[in-house]
């Protein structure tokens, strides 16, 4: 019997492309074959996948959609390197490949009944969006939801068109900040850690989940600690350059751990125990 080859992508097609922020696009991918559709039938919030721009290569992206909200896979892609620039040059109808779903996921069952604090920085908000959607779609299963959403500047805020939905949900608050204001910006200006100190969510029965640049994650953890959050009340998801997603290629190791296979979702205390840091 031939074993499946985990390096072979499932064929897919772009069915939607739209600008999410400056330099960031949202891609909607339809998987074309039953094998791929079955593999992605029940992917979890926090998992990632490799997306191929054929001829340029493949790169890993957190899946920013949920399987509950539809069969299309969504990826937020910032044009920064060879593969991501190539993806940005694609249009609706163009073929892509998808490998996954890969990695672990946010323990949504374990988070039920808790107050949740979400802290997203820039495109780091993308892998947190499935958590927000899962909570909003099962609103009664979770406690209070506090979303802190940040970017370097207003034009880099992602998923702004969903802000109204988030704000209007039951027991849900949204706080937005930018490091530097732009023309017409009337909202909060300052780092997400400053906003976090102002909002000061209670650590009582709460779990905070953050993603952003490594330096932001580091300081968000420190600020949460100041507010009384314990290591087992802080979650994050990490990224790294990687080439396999299955713990073989060696690229994404943090000491003895692989971000692809042992993560990408980690509790703060797990990261603190690693020999090597993520900074």
């Amino acid at each position: 019997m031939a074993l499946a080859n985990p390096m072979r992508p499932y064929p897919g097609r772009l069915v939607g492309v739209r600008d999410l922020a400056t330099g960031i696009k949202l891609f909607q991918v339809e998987l074309l074959e039953p094998e791929g559709q079955a593999a992605f039938a029940a992917y979890k919030p926090g998992q990632f996948a490799f997306v191929s721009a054929f001829g340029a290569g493949e790169a890993p992206f957190g899946i920013t959609s949920t399987s509950r909200r539809g069969r299309l896979l969504e990826f937020a892609v910032n044009a920064l390197g060879h593969v991501t620039f190539s993806l940005h040059s694609l249009d609706v109808g163009d073929p892509v490949g998808v490998r996954g779903p890969l990695g672990n996921w946010f323990p949504m069952d374990q988070l039920q009944g808790k107050n949740i604090v979400i802290l997203g920085g820039g495109i780091g908000g993308a892998p947190l969006r499935p958590v927000i959607h899962t909570i909003l779609d099962h609103r009664e299963d979770y406690g209070h939801l506090t979303i802190l959403w940040a970017a370097r500047s207003p034009d880099l805020l992602v998923f702004t068109e969903e802000f109204d939905e988030w704000r209007s949900a039951w027991a849900t608050e949204l706080h937005v900040t930018v490091d530097q204001a732009g023309p017409g910006w009337t909202g909060h200006v300052g780092l997400i850690t400053q906003l976090l100190e102002k909002v000061a969510p209670s650590p009582e029965n709460a779990v905070a989940i953050t993603c952003g640049p490594p330096i932001m994650i580091h300081f968000v953890f420190l600020t949460l600690k100041k507010l009384g959050f314990a290591p087992e009340q802080m979650l994050t998801t990490l990224e790294a350059r990687m080439h396999c997603g299955i713990g073989k290629c060696g690229r994404c190791n943090l000491g003895e751990k692989f971000i692809c296979k042992d993560g990408p979702v980690f509790w703060q205390y797990e990261i603190a125990r690693f020999l090597e840091g993520f900074l």
Binding site: M7, R8, F54, G81, C244
Partner: protein
């Protein structure tokens, strides 16, 4: 059952093997001993030092096409390129077989298996020749191996006196490959190993764990590292890889791309750098620390075997004389 041969019958057997399968064997390449594809038994070296490169490239090629991608307009056809040739690696040194066993632990024995490596590994027979001595840098005896260790081979060949060779099958594959060996009347006893190198201390993984933050140790050895990556290139267990697309043919309405996998090295400056520019392992000594910690701590903890078999090639190859055994001795002293 143990078999015997002389140089003539050995070469006759190799001639036959070269017709039945891809035959890899030690050969003189402009003064360098290397494992290379062989067409006839006459090309094969029967007495040779440790080859300058390991044989891992024949199971895990330095560049390997893993997928052919044909685009016609908006349509894409993917073809997996899985090797299906049978191959015999002859004259493999026991340390190189040991190195493959270390790679097996990750590529074969950890789910999911690596399809490309598995295809090659299943179709490969390893016929080793015992070393008559330990050479410059060799420390296999400290790493659980030895000059005449049959453990990871299918057949072990040992030289006896008067040009006689003793062939010991180790696995059913080894028994099968020996079926074609012409019978001879000669017999003999294996020649003892002439020279052993002094042992090197091997610390347990827990000890290495405590050394991670010993910046002095890592800077002492790593600060002069040129990040040239030769250590990982010659290493029989280093297995990190990169995957890239290479457009190989463009015609009207049709683009042909090969997705290739290539060896990578954690000692490379850009190994951990991400597209945004962040590099969590920015210095040469941190990268060298990762290499040694992988070999003696992470790899055994994650996958079982140590990531070093004591072949000594990295010691000989390093342009700035970074010596893995010196690091091991320092680790034992701290």
């Amino acid at each position: 059952m143990t078999r015997y041969a002389n140089a003539e019958t050995l070469r006759q057997w190799l001639d036959r093997l070269a017709q039945e399968a891809d035959l890899i064997a030690p050969r003189d390449v402009e003064g360098h001993v290397l494992y290379r594809p062989i067409r006839s038994g006459a090309e094969v070296l029967l007495e040779y030092e440790r080859p300058e490169l390991s044989a891992k490239e024949f199971l895990f090629p330095s560049t390997e096409v893993i997928l052919r991608i044909e685009q016609r307009g908006k349509e894409v056809a993917l073809e997996e390129v899985l090797p299906d040739r049978r191959q015999v690696v002859f004259g493999l040194r026991p340390c190189d077989a040991h190195g493959l066993a270390a790679i097996d632990a990750l590529f074969l024995n950890q789910d999911p298996t690596d399809a490309y490596y598995r295809h090659r590994r299943e179709r490969t027979t390893l016929v080793g020749i015992a070393c008559t001595q330990m050479w410059d840098g060799c420390f296999c005896t400290s790493m659980g191996g030895g000059p005449a260790d049959p453990t990871h081979l299918d057949v072990l060949i040992r030289a006896a006196e008067d040009g006689v060779y003793i062939l010991q099958p180790v696995t059913p594959k080894g028994v099968a490959v020996l079926e074609g060996l012409p019978p001879v009347e000669v017999r003999g006893e294996p020649r003892p190993v002439e020279e052993y190198n002094p042992p090197v201390p091997v610390m347990p993984t827990e000890k290495w764990r405590t050394l991670f933050d010993n910046q002095r140790l890592w800077m002492r050895h790593g600060e002069r590292c040129l990040s040239c990556r030769i250590c990982t290139y010659v290493c029989p267990t280093c297995r990190c890889y990169d995957v890239v697309d290479r457009v190989v043919d463009v015609r009207p309405g049709r683009v042909l791309t090969e997705r290739i996998r290539v060896w990578d090295a954690c000692t490379s400056p850009n190994y951990r750098r991400v597209a945004g520019g962040h590099n969590p392992r920015p210095t040469n000594w941190e990268r060298l620390r990762n290499r040694f910690m992988c070999k003696f701590c992470y790899y055994p903890e994650d996958f079982g075997p140590l990531g070093c078999v004591g072949c000594g090639r990295c010691i000989v190859a390093c342009p700035v004389e970074i010596d893995i055994t010196e690091v091991m001795e320092d680790a034992a002293r701290v």
